[in-house]
Structure formats: structure tokens, C-alpha cells
């Protein structure tokens, strides 16, 4: 019983974090350093301090990240997470790592096989919002901060859209039946 109450309290705390819109704060300004994209280290393993994504669990920031994802044309290459010119971001394969600091660095530094470097092009705070959104695509943010409601065409099986009420797949009616 005590355990259950603690769980409820914990989830409430998380939910509040999810809903919080932080108007006044010092935006995360420092870049993560000493980030590894390989798990292999020669010699003795040295633990690397992980950077927590500052917006990972915040719904407003994740939604902002989604807007920015379109605005900076990320969606042009990665589609709405399924990929195209660039790799998908909603699956569980990560070429350059899935941690917040890995994704941050990928956006800033670019990657040699086609990912452009956005260094100096996007403010740090917005990059962290993009990081939060990208991680939400494969449910890496534990609280599920991403809204399942979209303003656009319904793209994901689990989403709803006011624009585009879902219809069953393969519901195609032969056009002949519609012809006079």
C-alpha cells in the first residue's frame, strides 16, 4: 500500500513536469563535452557522465521540438520519424547513439554521410527541444511527453488527427461503383 502510494506520487510528479511550461529559466547553454559515440574504450573503462536532456519529459518543449523539426526541415529528410533521405528516428537503430548528448552532438556537428552540421544555425535551447522530440519518436522519454494528437495528416498508427480522421487501411472502393 505504501509502495502503491509512492508510485502514484511519483507519477503525479512526472505528470506535472510533463505539463510545466517554463517561462523563466536559464536555457541550457553549455554543450555536452566528452561525449562518446562508441561503447568501446581502450584500457580501463572510464565512466562518462551522461547529460540529462533538459526537456525530455516536458510536453510543451517536445511539442516545440516537433514544430522546429518541421521548421528547420529535419522532416524533409527524416520524414515524420520514418526517414527518407535520412535514416528513420522512430525505430530502435541508432547509428550515432540515442542518448540526449549523442543526438545533440549529431545535430550540432553533423555526420559524414549526409547529416548537415547545424552548428551556429540553431539556438542551443531549440536544439535541446529537438533532442527531446527526436527521443520521443521512439518513446525514449519515460513519461510519454509527446502528444498523440496531431494537427496534420495522420501519420502514425497510434495517433489521432482532427484534420484527418483515420480510415481503415485498404478501404479502397473500386471507382467503377462510383461512376454513373
Amino acid at each position: 500500500m505504501v509502495g502503491a502510494s509512492a508510485l502514484v506520487l511519483l507519477s503525479l510528479a512526472n505528470a506535472c513536469d510533463r505539463e510545466q511550461r517554463r517561462f523563466r529559466e536559464n536555457p541550457p547553454s553549455t554543450s555536452p563535452s566528452n561525449v562518446r559515440v562508441s561503447a568501446l574504450q581502450p584500457g580501463t573503462m572510464v565512466d562518462t557522465a551522461h547529460v540529462a536532456g533538459p526537456y525530455d519529459n516536458n510536453a510543451w518543449a517536445v511539442t516545440e521540438g516537433q514544430r522546429l523539426f518541421g521548421w528547420y526541415n529535419c522532416s524533409g529528410c527524416h520524414a515524420n520519424g520514418g526517414g527518407g533521405m535520412g535514416p528513420p528516428l522512430m525505430d530502435d537503430k541508432w547509428i550515432y547513439g540515442s542518448s540526449p548528448e549523442n543526438i545533440y552532438n549529431t545535430i550540432v556537428q553533423g555526420r559524414p554521410n549526409g547529416m548537415p552540421s547545424f552548428a551556429g544555425k540553431i539556438p542551443t535551447q531549440q536544439i535541446w527541444m529537438l533532442v527531446a522530440y527526436v527521443r520521443s519518436l521512439s518513446a525514449l522519454n519515460t513519461t510519454g511527453a509527446r502528444s498523440s494528437r496531431q494537427d496534420h495528416m495522420m501519420m502514425y498508427p497510434g495517433s489521432t488527427s482532427l484534420q484527418d480522421p483515420a480510415k481503415p487501411v485498404q478501404s479502397f472502393k473500386p471507382p467503377a461503383s462510383e461512376m454513373p
Binding site: 503525479l12 505528470a15 506535472c16 510533463r18 505539463e19 518541421g70 521548421w71 528547420y72 526541415n73 522532416s75 524533409g76 529528410c77 520524414a79 515524420n80 520519424g81 520514418g82 526517414g83 527518407g84 533521405m85 535520412g86 535514416p87 528513420p88 522512430m90 525505430d91 559524414p112 554521410n113 549526409g114 547529416m115 548537415p116 520521443s136 518513446a139 510519454g144 509527446r146 502528444s147 498523440s148 494528437r149 496534420h152 495528416m153 495522420m154 501519420m155 502514425y156 498508427p157 497510434g158 495517433s159 489521432t160 484534420q163 484527418d164 480522421p165 483515420a166 480510415k167 481503415p168 487501411v169 485498404q170 478501404s171 479502397f172 473500386p174 471507382p175 462510383e178 461512376m179 454513373p180
Partner: protein, 630 residues
């Protein structure tokens, strides 16, 4: 608690398992919703290809100029007329069932192999997709061992600005050189004997989103090349380079003032809609023509008699039409140009103010057609917009324009004034999802080239049967990034199959026969003088069918899906060989080549949604296969 509650009932818990569970609930709800929905008005009746009828054996038929057979395959189309027709007759409908692999060769590249192998002087040249490695194989020795390989080492970043896989549509052999384009915008000439680079000329810039994927056409000592990038706001052009030196001779843009488009005193458009001064500038707002697309990434054909080169320009950018009012000339346009000077002699805009990414880049195959008592020098152009245009290639007059697939986006092509009559309901808009847009953005047919047999008079068209839903979204122009502005998801058209092979009778304006395939037929076709047609499927079947009936003669399963261009040649041993690349990819196969996730129905500009089952049907990886009779 109320303050912290979620806006839609508080069930937004997105662990992966609960998402799966929720999916069922949402789908159930959606089903109920869809069932209660009523249609808004009656849709306009669609256009469809006429029913297939075999032409009578004594019916007049189209013909084409056929060069003397040299047993080689020196350019991707084999001949300037673009007919992809071989006069080799050892393989026949009777013995094709005995075909067997002669040898194979791995390219070591995992992306889509759209290119044909090229055969000249007993050597086979195999060019890979990025990183564009050129291999020379010695056909005189058993197993065709490698003579040399040439690596242009393109910038790896170019992969990030290639819209639809990092393909290449082939090299060309001319004057002892192999000429080809690299993904990072270099044109390269390599000594065909030694593999040494003769020249390498940079003609574009990946930083503005430019890439090159097309096969050059070499005409009268000039290498004609064009750029890709219609999904990245790249201005289209055709350039001529000197075959001997690689020096740039002229550039003809697809957009901009007449001086840039090389429209001058010799230009005469057949239809009034294509006449006027500086239309490449005035049919746009402001300076949008500078980032307006019209790229030249498809096929060029050449008529030595009229000394004209024929090709089409690609879609306007961005896809979202609300952001580019006007006709957007000269995108989605057929051009006839003098290769010596680059001057345009005529132009016809196929899809003015294109709404659905209907590029005009498909091949224009040069035919001679008996037409109303005369023989017309014609071209036949199966376009993305769903119509097959039969045109007088001297003037640009349309003789006929018949649908060869299922069309809901337009009513017809009015051949009196050349206009494509659009269906207003199918116009994509921002913030609105338009359904049943047919053909889908890859068109009734994309780049995959047709072949033509003067014996049967039929054009063998590989194509697709896809429709889509579209929603316009605002596109931002950021140089070197995509400039599209459209959410798209595709699905199979009527009948549920996604691919077709149509044997088209140009004179009757209808199919002689038609085959359906599960997946889009994204390979080219080849036809021989013994009436055998070869093509491949995206699930890896290489097929031979009877050119007169479509009857399947033989098939063989290759290691990966086929999107290449089959060729045939006579080996040093005098035998007839048939060769094709296996290696799935391209826009249609991006879901496999790029490991895309079809949970997002807009992946690969919406193509992945229609190809969800391809990853179960084939794997990636490039291999050349060569077949012969035992």
C-alpha cells in the same frame, strides 16, 4: 490534479506496449467514425487506360530507326532513338526457358542499382550507385575477371542531399571513353582501356542541394548532362561538355529569362499557351524561379536527321503549389534543343503549375508513325501525369494523349490547345487532406525506361499503379535542405497491384496487353528482334515474356530486387547474353535500401507506406547477373 491533467482524458502513456494496445482502440474508433462519414458530393469519373486489344497482324504499325547491330550495348538506351531494341535473335520465345546464369559479379554497394551494364569492345563496364565505382570486366576470359576499377571518391556528404536514394542511371561509352556523373556533381571521362581518368569537371554544388544521377548522352562530341534536386529547391539545367577536354560549352536552364533558357529566334512553341517572352521568369512570383526546380535527371534522346535532342524537365519546387502561383515554366516540360548551341527549338509544358510532383523527365522514344495517311516523325512520351503523349517531334504538336493508367487528377489532355484539364477537387491545399490522388507522385510511370520493337510496333512500358493522400504544409527554403511542403502517403491503385507492364499500341492509343505485378515495376525493359521482352521485379524475379502476347517464358530469382536496366549483347564467343543489375532501392525501394520505418506513413515522401511488405520480400545488395543459353 486537475491542473496537471492531460487535455484529452489523461491516457497519453506512451510506453511501447501501451502504444500497441492503444493502437487497436484507436483503429476501432476510427472505423466507426469512417463508417458514419458521408461523402462530400460525387467525385468526377476517373480516366483509365482503354481495354487491351491485340492489334491485327496487318494493322499499320509504328516503326523506328534501327542502327546496324554491333552486338554491343554502348549507351544505356543502346541507340539515340531510345528504343532499347536488340537485333540479336539467339534467345527466342521457344528456348528462353533454358536460360541459365553464366556468371555474376558483386558490386560491394548496398544501395539501389538503377544502372545498366555497358558493353563495348569485349569489355563490360559496371557503374555502381554512390560511391560511383566503375568496374571494367574482361568478357574474353572465363568468368569475366576484373580488368580495373576506377573510384571517383565523391564527397560522402552528397548522400544527404540525394532525394531518392543515391542511384546512378548509367555510364556511356563514346570515343574510347566511359563518361558518367557522380553524385557530388562531377562529370568524369575515363579511358575505356586503361581506367585512367581523362578529365573530371565539377558542374554543380552539393551545398545548394544539387546532385547528379542521370546518364549522360554523348552527341557529336558533346557530353550532355543535367542535375537532380527538385526536392531541394535546385534550379534545373542541361549542360554540354566537350567530350575531348571536359570543358563546359553551354548551359540551358529550365527556369528564368529566355536568355538563360536559351529560347531565341529559332524557338516556336506549337501551342499559344507556351508562347511569350521570358515565361520562365514571368510565370513565377518574384525570384522563385531561382529555386524552382525543373531539373534534368531523366532521359535524353537524339534525332541525327533533325539534329535535335529531346528531354523533359522535372517538377517545380516546392511541391506545395500554394507557395508558387503561376504556370512555373519551364518545369514539367518537354524540350527540343539543338545540341550544337543548346538553343530551344520547341517546348511543351506537360503539367503547368504541377500539383503532384509530376516530373516530365521520362523518356521520349523516337518513332515513325503512320498517322492519318501520312508518316509522322514522332516521339512517344509516357508521362508521370498518366498520359502517353504521341507528338510530332519536329513541331511539338500532340497527335494523341491517352491515359495508360488510372487518373483522378485530370480529365483529359485537350489536344486542340495542349492544356491538361485538371480536376479541382484533387488540388492539394495547406491544412487539408486530399484523398485518392491518382496517379500518386511517382506518376503512372517514373524514370524506368520503356523499350520499343519495330517488329511488333509496341512500346513496352514498365510502370506503377499507385494513388495517394496529400496534405500541403508550409515549406521553408533553407539551401541544401529539402524544399517540399507536402505530407504524402501512397497506396495501391484500383485492383490492389502496385506494378504493371503495359505493351502499348501507339497508333490505336491503347494497350495490346498488360501484366500486373505485386510491386511497382521499377526496372527498365528490353526487347529483342526475336520478340522477347525482359524486365525485373522489385521482389527479385528476372523475367522473359513474349513480346506479342505477354506470356511468361522464363523467370529466375535474383539475390535482391531488380530496378536496373536489362541489356543484351553478343559475347566474344558469339553467344547472346542478357545482363541486369540486382540491388533494390531507388525511391520505390528506399524502405529497404534505407531501412526506413513504415510506421510513419510519410516516410520516403510517402512511398514507404505503399511498400510496407517489401522488406519481407527482398534484401539489399548489388550484384550483376549475366544469363545465356547452355
Amino acid at each position: 490534479m486537475a491542473r496537471c491533467g492531460t487535455e484529452a482524458g489523461g491516457h497519453h502513456v506512451h510506453t511501447l506496449t501501451s502504444v500497441n494496445r492503444m493502437r487497436h482502440l484507436v483503429v476501432l474508433g476510427a472505423l466507426a467514425f469512417a463508417a458514419s462519414c458521408t461523402r462530400e458530393g460525387k467525385p468526377e469519373p476517373p480516366r483509365e487506360a482503354a481495354a487491351a486489344v491485340l492489334p491485327a497482324s496487318n494493322a499499320p504499325r509504328a516503326t523506328a530507326t534501327v542502327d546496324a547491330e554491333d552486338g554491343q550495348w554502348a549507351m544505356p538506351m543502346k541507340s539515340y532513338s531510345g528504343i532499347r531494341y536488340s537485333q540479336l535473335t539467339e534467345i527466342t520465345p521457344a528456348n528462353a526457358k533454358n536460360l541459365q546464369p553464366a556468371w555474376t559479379f558483386s558490386t560491394s554497394v548496398m544501395r539501389g542499382h538503377e544502372e545498366p551494364p555497358i558493353i563495348a569492345n569485349n569489355t563490360m563496364y559496371v557503374l555502381t550507385p554512390y560511391p560511383n565505382i566503375l568496374y571494367a570486366l574482361d568478357l574474353t576470359l572465363p568468368g569475366a575477371p576484373k580488368k580495373w576499377q576506377y573510384e571517383p571518391k565523391p564527397q560522402s556528404e552528397a548522400q544527404g542531399v540525394a532525394c531518392c536514394d543515391v542511384v546512378n542511371r548509367g555510364p556511356s561509352f563514346a570515343d574510347g571513353k566511359i563518361v558518367f556523373n557522380t553524385l557530388d556533381d562531377h562529370v568524369v571521362a575515363v579511358d575505356a582501356n586503361t581506367g585512367k581518368e581523362v578529365w573530371k569537371t565539377k558542374v554543380g554544388d552539393i551545398n545548394i542541394g544539387e546532385t547528379m544521377t542521370m546518364a549522360p548522352l554523348v552527341v557529336k562530341g558533346k557530353v550532355l548532362v543535367g542535375n537532380s534536386g527538385g526536392e531541394l529547391g535546385v534550379r534545373g539545367w542541361l549542360k554540354a561538355l566537350d567530350l575531348a577536354s571536359g570543358k563546359l560549352l553551354w548551359t540551358a536552364y529550365s527556369t528564368g529569362p529566355d536568355s538563360d533558357v536559351k529560347i531565341g529566334s529559332r524557338f516556336k512553341a506549337y501551342y499559344p499557351k507556351d508562347r511569350g517572352k521570358d515565361l520562365g521568369e514571368t510565370t513565377w512570383q518574384g525570384e522563385q524561379w531561382k529555386i524552382g526546380g525543373g531539373n534534368v535527371w531523366g532521359w535524353l534522346t537524339y534525332d541525327p536527321q533533325t539534329n535535335l535532342v529531346y528531354y523533359g524537365s522535372a517538377n517545380p519546387g516546392p511541391w506545395n503549389p500554394a507557395q508558387r502561383p503561376g504556370d512555373n515554366k519551364w518545369t514539367s516540360t518537354l524540350f527540343a534543343r539543338d545540341p550544337d548551341t543548346g538553343e530551344a527549338v520547341w517546348a511543351y509544358q506537360l503539367s503547368p503549375h504541377d500539383l503532384h510532383d509530376y516530373d516530365g523527365v521520362n523518356e521520349s522514344v523516337l518513332l515513325d508513325v503512320p498517322w492519318k495517311g501520312q508518316t509522322r516523325k514522332a516521339l512517344i512520351h509516357p508521362d508521370r501525369n498518366g498520359y502517353i503523349y504521341l507528338m510530332d517531334r519536329m513541331t511539338g504538336e500532340i497527335l494523341s494523349a491517352e491515359p495508360f493508367g488510372f487518373i483522378t487528377t485530370s480529365r483529359r489532355v485537350n489536344i486542340a490547345n495542349g492544356s491538361l484539364e485538371m480536376v479541382p477537387d484533387k488540388k492539394p491545399e495547406v491544412g487539408k487532406v486530399v484523398r485518392m490522388v491518382c496517379p500518386a507522385s511517382p506518376g503512372t510511370k517514373d524514370w524506368q525506361p520503356s523499350s520499343f520493337s519495330p517488329r511488333t510496333g509496341l512500346l513496352y512500358i514498365p510502370h506503377q499503379n499507385l494513388c495517394e493522400d496529400e496534405e500541403g504544409v508550409e515549406a521553408n527554403y533553407i539551401a541544401g535542405t529539402p524544399y517540399v511542403g507536402m505530407n504524402v502517403r501512397m497506396y495501391a491503385g484500383p485492383g490492389g497491384h502496385r506494378g504493371e507492364l503495359t505493351a502499348w499500341d501507339p497508333i490505336a492509343g491503347r494497350p495490346a496487353w498488360k501484366l500486373t505485378e505485386k510491386f511497382p515495376v521499377w526496372s527498365g525493359t528490353l526487347v529483342t528482334a526475336s520478340d522477347v521482352v525482359f524486365y525485373g521485379t522489385m521482389d527479385g524475379w528476372f523475367k522473359a515474356v513474349d513480346a506479342r502476347s505477354g506470356t511468361l517464358l522464363w523467370r529466375y530469382k535474383l539475390g535482391s530486387g531488380i530496378i536496373g536496366q536489362p541489356v543484351t549483347y553478343r559475347g566474344p564467343d558469339g553467344k547472346q547474353y542478357v545482363a541486369v543489375m540486382s540491388g533494390v532501392g531507388g525511391w520505390a525501394g528506399a524502405i529497404v535500401a534505407g531501412d526506413l520505418d513504415p510506421q510513419d506513413s510519410t516516410a520516403a515522401l510517402g512511398f514507404a507506406a505503399a511498400m510496407k511488405d517489401l522488406p519481407n520480400a527482398t534484401q539489399k545488395g548489388g550484384t550483376l547477373y549475366v544469363f545465356a543459353l547452355p
